[in-house]
Symmetry: C2
Subunit: 381 residues, 2 copies
């Protein structure tokens, strides 16, 4: 086993490389213990503990600073055309006022990012991005291909209201209309004279909304109002929760998938219209992968451990059960922690086809030594 | 003044988002206190203190893990053409075996990155990058524009040997030939049966080399050998040093410049062949900026403070001396700390043309309150 120093959580060197969000002081004052670095911004993660935050999220309501989920704005005459080329999902079906979870793929099918595409106007989109530089990707495509678009990253910072009491809380602030917003739709809601884009979306399976703050001064007042009115609903500060998202099967870009992963391996082909009439950069590659006799050779699978495990900060090797751990590697864990719900470790792993059947027993090399686990299915129970 | 919590150095949440380098355990064991997040990797920064590390670097020799300086590999029939389009510098003058510091610019002249371009073969380049995703930028350009190239990010991790004793040390390991390597040239040097690319380059003004480790197993043995032989030269582990690089005028991408900065504003036009015969994406934009009657309206300037200051982790506003600090803002500080050499604060700032003359007195809003400073020139003395 490697030296424990290897797994120590590092302290961030003070520099302007990494940006603080408009809500950073609020999350600091609220007791944020650790930060993810997400699109070069500090994204608060843990307040009480991962388990306590998860328990609370599932029962009440939380306010999250997810400013690191930046907006890449693509607008202009060729905007719809370029955005369509970027994703295998048919966005011809996306109406103004709608949001669509979509994969962006390079020509070989590798996943560049998995944003929510927000259609503001017919020729104006925000890609609300996961953790990779879609701005440079889109600028490169536009410049190389001569698309008539403007690509920018405006100062728009999402805050999320998540949990079962989200509708009750936001009704008190914005009125009854919030209940009528359908999943992955948005409306503009007034607050102190400013209209905020409010979408029923968010990176949990507990329900809720995201508010796209394009005015930080009024946005801070809105933050404080949500916390004030939220007292009646036992609101806490929170964040995307590791236990909740592993259990639910929400994949994290750059941990669970990256440019070397295709949509089939990620188990996300249901968000692709591989054989649609629309053109997109990855079309030939993804059609070829789909038609391969044996399909993909590895795929994302959830694992359930027999015992507790630490939180994963570097990919862990997965071995077939009966082999020595120096023997055949059949996958790797990319997200993992201990769940208070199962009483043991839970993980997201990329597993070879030979060992991906539900129930298959595996051995995982963790910082605490070899641990046994079984392949299961989402949601982990 | 804002709450001190605002300036606290955050702890990184454990996840696979941020990668550990092959040398991470070595830097942890060596006492690295803080890490920059650089191209989504942990880059060790401080060992003793910024000042002690600086003193040592200028007198002896240090080994740095700069794996975060990733290589973006561009190869294929159109490689030289695409790399030339990406930069205003005329790379037609770059020979195989040569390295060239160059700016990459978007079509409006905004700086995308400032890599060292390493010409491995006529049709094979590494862009040894600063902190932005040049891989996605180059992939986007190649896919959009139909260039016949392969773009990848191979597992090549630079380690740097920096300081006045660098030649003495590396001669003992690789032989006399290291002394003959000219600045920004490279040779392949054998170690334990593997040939490593060794360049006379590095992110300090103290002289030294960078070794591009493309075999981590042998690379770790080389690391240990350098530390072993280096004992005779009082070697320490080190890192790019904040005092040394501010004093020298080495700009840090994403802190001191970004997509909104052009080469003239950054004071880096000497690395551009604006009016050369070669074509590049930013040519029209940069020629227009060059020909504007008044030139740029702001430019990078070093500042020297009258007293000590903290290390800058969020841009500080700069005000004209005689105005109230709520009055006219004339710039912002993007890198700053206290120097043991000047006895006070030193900084890199972007200053409006009205206030950029050497000797101009300015007021800077720091976390410790308003501080007075003067515009000076590089190197700061």
């Amino acid at each position: 086993m490697t030296d424990n120093l290897f797994y120590q959580n590092p302290l961030v060197f003070p520099s302007c490389h990494v940006k603080r969000s408009h809500f950073f002081l609020r999350t600091q004052q609220g007791g944020a213990k650790q930060y993810a670095i997400y699109n070069n911004m500090l994204l608060s993660t843990t307040f009480q503990s991962i388990a306590d935050d998860c328990r609370h999220l599932k029962q009440y309501v939380q306010l999250w600073d997810v400013s690191g989920q930046r907006q890449v704005e693509i607008k202009g005459r060729d905007a719809a055309k370029l955005v369509q080329y970027m994703t295998p999902r048919n966005i011809g079906k996306c109406a103004v006022g709608q949001c669509m979870y979509a994969l962006l793929c390079d020509k070989d099918g590798g996943i560049v990012n998995d944003p929510v595409i927000i259609k503001l106007k017919e020729d104006h989109f925000w890609l609300s991005i996961a953790n990779s530089d879609v701005e440079l990707w889109a600028r490169g495509l536009a410049l190389g291909g001569g698309y008539d678009v403007e690509v920018a990253m405006p100062d728009v910072s999402p805050i999320a209201v998540q949990g079962p009491k989200s509708d009750d809380l936001l009704e008190k602030i914005f009125g009854k209309m919030v209940r009528a917003i359908r999943p992955f739709r948005f409306e503009y809601v007034p607050f102190m004279g400013h209209n905020f884009l409010l979408a029923r979306s968010g990176w949990s399976k507990q329900g809720g909304f995201e508010i796209y703050v394009d005015n930080p001064t009024i946005g801070l007042k809105l933050w404080d109002e949500i916390m004030h009115i939220g007292k009646d609903f036992n609101i806490h500060l929170g964040s995307p929760n590791l236990i909740e998202r592993i259990t639910s099967g929400l994949l994290s870009y750059r941990s669970d998938m990256d440019l070397t992963t295709n949509p089939f391996e990620a188990g996300l082909e249901k968000f692709c219209d591989i054989d649609g009439d629309h053109d997109y950069f990855a079309k030939t590659a993804l059609q070829n992968i789909k038609r391969q006799k044996n399909g993909v050779q590895r795929q994302i699978r959830p694992l359930k451990f027999d015992s507790e495990i630490p939180t994963c900060s570097i990919p862990w090797q997965v071995f077939a059960d009966k082999d020595n751990h120096n023997g055949k590697q059949v996958g790797r864990v990319t997200s993992a922690t201990t769940s208070h719900e199962t009483g043991g470790g839970i993980a997201i792993a990329m597993i070879d086809s030979t060992h991906w059947q539900v129930g298959t027993r595996l051995m995982v090399e963790t910082p605490d030594g070899l641990k046994t686990a079984s392949v299961t299915s989402f949601p982990i129970q």
